[in-house]
Amino acid sequence: MKARMQSSSSSSSSAAAAASAAAAALMVKQEFFEKWIKGLQIYSSFNKEMTVMERKRAIKLSADVAIAATRSATTRWSRAVVADVSTSAAGAARTAAEQILGRKLAERRALAATCSRRIVRRSRQRRGKAAGRGVVRSSAAIAKKLVRNRTRVLKRLVPGGMKLDEISLIKETLDYIASLQVQVDVMRHLAAAAERLDHQQISI
């Protein structure tokens, strides 16, 4: 990757692009940070004292909603994240999410979808058995099976990925990875700053 980019003819334009790209990245980080802090403040206005687990949950939820909000519902994963929150939301969480997004969340009831998954799995297994197993097929078939398994795993990882086809799944994954990176960066810097502050205050 580095070798490719070292050509001089592209370096000047890429340097300019890099500067403006980084500035735009900074904008997204700031937007995420603002929304995140907004959510946290709403949380703390609800209950002053929280246990560590409650705090962690509040922090994570606010961060997830905030990073989904930076996409403003243009991507499927952001819509799925917001839908998850609205489904499994308590009072404070719900209000925080609504404030971050700036809109009301629809009231939902959690669906019980577990039994259907078992049925689908059983039918798939039966189909595999009927096709004949124990025989090592061609390498292409093995590769296909690997790809299929991993695609399934990826679908589970990306929020809202279960109903996507391969093509859209890859697109969503791209966007999701970029947003996760932003989230991790901002959270890490905040955590480092907070710990340093803590350290400093203790050493005083």
């Binding site: 560590v52 890859i170 697109k171």
Partner: protein
């Protein structure tokens, strides 16, 4: 892919308490300090764009490359990949640059040897564009160019592309994609459709490969998918750990940002002032202490990802930090206009 430590020049003045919603505007303006400036890339647009969510990447690339036309500049493959990725995301994220994105695609696609790969991508962009006529013309011109580059079979099929790509709100769809069969390949509609689909998937996989670090050398969809899965899982795990760290480090989660700046000045992230923390009494000091020991373990196992920035961080039991401060109104605070950012 992680941003290095930046040297950001902050200057601040006092007076903001973050608890007030009115003061929030100023505080948020000062976030510039906390979040480091543009990460140290290798001076390339690519790694910069790696930090970048796609919509902004689209705008950047659009602004960058549009003046460079009409003749396609000598774009290197990585740029093409970026432009492709950016143009792809323009489908989802912002439909506001359709003419430019299609033009960019036409410029980049003329550099590509594989014409069939481009056409599905272009068609996807054209779906959201309000000028299908323009893009059709550019498509035709590209096809003419590429006819000189390789020998093809003369058969030409058209097929419908509406089904797979669900657009968000634009109802415009290009009904047919003209796909050219290559030499020595079957020309029935099924295999053509499958091949177009396969090439679409491969193009996007390539973009994903560029995004995930360390995927460039791997060949083969299964391995690349493996790496992608690992990367996503690692990022999600990091989010969990970081939220636990943040929960443990302070008793109240509404970060009062003033003190952060003061701390940051001495840190390796240097000069990113933000604000002061609510240095308040730890009401649950006893509980926190025991729990912190438990939570230290998973964090200590996650050093590689968090190593660089946090060399001074320790896990300190909160019982020691029984300092109580007044509201940091009198402490150092900041003016947003004073903060400078390295861009």
């Amino acid at each position: 892919m992680e941003p290095n430590v930046e040297a950001v020049q902050p200057q601040f003045r006092s007076g903001i308490s973050g608890a007030k919603p009115g003061g929030m505007g100023c505080v948020f303006g000062d976030i510039h300090g906390l979040i480091p400036g543009p990460p140290e890339t290798d001076g390339t647009s690519f790694t910069a764009l790696l930090e970048l969510p796609p919509p902004q990447a689209v705008e950047l690339l659009v602004k960058e490359d549009f003046p460079a036309k009409p003749m396609p500049p000598p774009i290197f493959p990585s740029n093409i990949a970026l432009i492709d990725r950016a143009s792809m995301f323009s489908v989802f994220a912002s439909a506001d640059n359709p003419p430019e994105s299609t033009n960019i695609l036409s410029a980049s696609s003329s550099m590509k040897i594989d014409s069939v790969k481009q056409e599905p991508l272009e068609s996807e962009n054209q779906r959201n564009s309000s000028s299908p006529a323009v893009s059709n013309q550019s498509l035709k011109s590209i096809k003419r160019k590429e006819r000189e580059k390789k020998v093809k079979e003369s058969s030409k099929k058209s097929k419908k592309v509406g089904a797979n790509e669900a657009s968000d709100g634009s109802g415009e769809q290009l009904p047919y994609v003209h796909v050219r069969a290559r030499r020595g390949q079957a020309t029935d509609s099924h295999s053509l459709a499958e091949r177009a689909r396969r090439e679409k998937i491969n193009a996007r996989m390539k973009l994903l490969q560029d995004l995930v670090p360390g995927c460039n050398k791997i060949s083969g969809t299964a391995m690349v998918l493996d790496e992608i899965i690992n990367h996503v899982q690692a990022l999600q795990r990091q989010v969990e750990f970081l939220s636990m760290r943040l929960a443990a480090v302070n008793p109240r989660i509404d970060f009062n940002l003033d003190a952060l700046l003061a701390v940051e000045s001495e840190s390796s992230i240097d000069n990113s002032y933000l604000g002061m923390f609510p240095p308040s009494i730890w009401p649950e000091g006893q509980i926190n202490g025991s729990r912190q020991q438990q939570y230290q373990q998973p964090w200590l196992m996650d050093p590689p990802s968090m190593g660089r920035v946090d060399d001074t961080s320790n896990f300190i039991t909160p019982e020691n930090s029984l300092l109580s401060y007044d509201s940091p109104a009198n402490s150092a605070s900041l003016h947003s206009s004073q903060l400078k950012m390295e861009l």
